[in-house]
Symmetry: C2
Subunit: 460 residues, 2 copies
């Protein structure tokens, strides 16, 4: 049929589609896409709940770690010169976690833009399909009006002019009947007229939701970036209050990360189910929404040699009728013009109308052919099931990395700030670090310019 | 005409297109895309040369800075306790530069993937266009063969069967003539037959080049990432040899960054000139390469109401001839079958052939219509002029950031490593930092766990 190579589910779709699903009673749920069924909804909610479980576990782990750190430290003699071991390592692990978080943020920005690309591909395909569908309606309307106008004016006048010769009047009436038949056949081709579903509206809704999703992710990513940068600044400046504020904000971002991870995982699982065999679901949904026959919908959604063009009959009949009108007009021109010169102008005008109608007819054939609309369908599926799903997986990776990095940072930050030397505001202003008795007690000679934390082993 | 909304030059294209261009004698060059003209080539080479100038200036700046730092340091009293001021700031500025470099690498990865997306969109549009063009050829061939087969077998046999009635033989001969006329008209529609240009070949060439471009950028980005990470490691571990090696590699990457910047800037400028009005250039190029008439090329590349379908005449004639064959077969069925029952099977077979040919004819009309191929053209242009250009600009930003970051790092690294305390291997092994006399001389009491470089002002 000359249909372009269509959409094929990617490896990610297969992989995610093969994961087992279960409802709240942990009974297995089939992985066919059925968002209206309660079992399937429960399976997706269970995926979100898994992220909630992860959040709970990581919060418990952080709490246990910090309680153990606060309460079970070995007692330190008050004047001890040796600091608790591993101080540099705490700072370093914190920095490494924050760098991993920054890498995750980069991945998140990429994933967010990829998802946005996929969704905008979907909505541009919908807009294009809408353009084709409205173009069909307009073209049919225009052709029908043109034919009816020709029947009302030129053909009626022609009958009046040729009224003396009955066989010519009969030929004119034949042409008139054919023109009316073509107009009637054409009206049946405007299949989208009166259909309550507007792809334009769907595209606008999708773009609207996507805009807010995109914005929410950009804000989350920027928030996490600010947390990483300000925490690094706090560690560099040894500013206790900044580190404490950032620890609290990190906790908030950790919750947000796990929450977004749950949503992404559920969306990815649902999308993979949809994308593994989208045709049936979309066909049923469109049939319900539009009330169109399944022959038309199968033709456009499948567009292969097995499905014949449902408009073939009407197109062939119209085409034959147009050719008949043409030969009748040719006959009239031969027979009538020598006797009735006033008919020539009318016949020329009718042939002009016929030529334009035939040109429009070819355009209508091109618009009605499944190639164009099926290509839009393929582009929409590729946008949703390739780009958007890939973007979602990158966002999932971002959430994972950021949850891990923030959990590590939350474990290390309180230890790191506990190791900061307390500062005297006046000392900080004058630039001297040596005016605190407590500080003197904890000092040891260290190369001044070894100004980077080190993980080398120290003597105990 | 119902053509979909096409390609429109973006703001970036307009902006880059408006930049002044000059040849080697600095005479202004018009900014129309003309890659075969020497003046225009010189203008692009001048853009590359500007990047070379930037590289030279930055190398001179680094050399002057380092020479000034080495030779013009204020003399330091040998036993001074105060270290040279700003030591922490040097390390910090180095770290900040490397972080900016890392951000640039993220941007570079994004730009590289965006460019790759754009180019793959271009080559998939070319593949799709190739599919359409070959489908037209195959369909025409199939229809012509089917008609010729019908003329050779069924119509010839029919003539033999009906040989007793001359008026029926005449009608059969009429149908035969019409079928031959249709076959001849159809052969004129396979306009791509024998054209030496293959979009498939172009797509393969583009993909081949793009693969290597992508790989080269990924390697450059990974090299720069490794430089950043190992330099940070070197600073953290205070490993002089690692920092020295990384300084040398940084110099190499600096040269590569400026080189890639020149290529990207020239490519972006050339692409913007191409993208500001691609139709004329592409039309001329395709006319030269294919030898096709400008009516056909204008129809596909412009696809608006001003350009009429160059196949309209042939299509209308074929359509009328097919309708005539149909009415002649109907007449024969009415007249001949009662007298010659053996003709019925032949007539049914001919009508079947006619129906299939009419179905194929509608498909041919759809394939020949400019909508499909013009959409591919628009997709190719959007891929090249939106995604690929945007990616190029991101790569340009990466090169700029990385050149700036590496220049800063190259200025700071030698100062930073000059400030590292010399290490005694045994001291390093035992973990003690205090076994070196030189070290003792430079020590000052500092809070031990202030283990991060600080930029606070110090008393002089």
């Amino acid at each position: 049929m000359g249909a372009p190579p269509g959409y094929r589910p990617s490896a990610w779709v297969h992989l995610l589609h093969q994961l087992p699903r279960a409802d709240f009673q942990l009974r297995p749920v089939p992985s066919g896409f059925a968002p209206q069924e309660q079992e399937y909804q429960q399976a997706l909610l269970l995926v979100v709940a898994l992220a909630g479980l992860g959040l709970g576990l990581s919060l418990i782990f952080i709490a246990v770690y910090l309680i153990r750190f606060c309460c079970c430290r070995p007692p330190e003699p008050p004047g001890a010169k040796s600091p608790p071991p591993g101080g540099g390592c705490v700072t370093w692990s914190c920095i490494a976690a924050l760098l991993v978080g920054c890498a995750g943020i980069g991945i998140g920005f990429y994933g967010n833009s990829e998802t946005s690309d996929g969704v905008s591909q979907l909505s541009s395909a919908l807009l294009h399909a809408n353009h084709t569908l409205t173009a069909i309606d307009h073209l049919v309307l225009e052709m029908v009006e043109r034919l009816e106008e020709a029947v009302r004016t030129e053909l009626t006048t022609l009958e009046e002019v040729l009224t003396q010769r009955t066989e010519l009047v009969a030929a004119t009436r034949g042409a008139r009947r054919q023109a009316e038949a073509v107009a009637q056949q054409l009206q049946g081709l405007a299949f989208w007229q009166g259909v309550p579903l507007s792809p334009l509206q769907v595209a606008e809704d999708v773009s609207f939701v996507e805009e807010y999703r995109w914005l929410a992710y950009v804000l989350l990513l920027l928030l996490e970036l600010l947390v990483c940068l300000f925490t690094l600044l706090g560690l560099a400046k040894q500013s206790k209050w900044l580190v404490i504020v950032m620890t609290v904000v990190s906790l908030l971002v950790l919750v947000l990360s796990w929450g977004s991870m749950g949503l992404e995982a559920a969306a990815a699982v649902g999308l993979s189910d949809f994308c593994s065999s989208p045709d049936t679901y979309i066909l049923n949904l469109t049939r319900e929404e539009t009330g169109l026959g399944s022959d038309i919908l199968s033709y456009y959604f499948l567009c292969n040699q097995a499905v014949s063009n449902p408009f073939q009959q009407r197109l062939t009949l119209s085409q034959r009728a147009l050719a008949n009108i043409h030969s009748q007009l040719q006959g009239l021109e031969r027979e009538a013009v020598p006797q009735f010169p006033s008919a020539q102008k009318l016949l020329l005008s009718l042939e002009e109308t016929l030529n334009v109608t035939e040109g429009n007819f070819h355009q209508l054939v091109a618009l009605l052919h499944c190639r164009g609309l099926h290509k839009d369908y393929g582009a929409a599926l590729r946008g949703l099931c390739e780009d958007a799903l890939e973007g979602l997986l990158f966002l999932l990776l971002f959430s994972l990395l950021s949850a891990g990095a923030l959990a590590t940072a939350l474990c290390s930050l309180p230890r790191a700030w506990a190791l900061f030397p307390p500062r005297n505001p006046s000392a900080s202003c004058s630039g001297s670090h040596l005016s605190e008795p407590f500080l003197h007690a904890r000092l040891e000679p260290v190369p001044h310019l070894r100004s980077f934390p080190s993980c080398r082993r120290r003597p105990h």
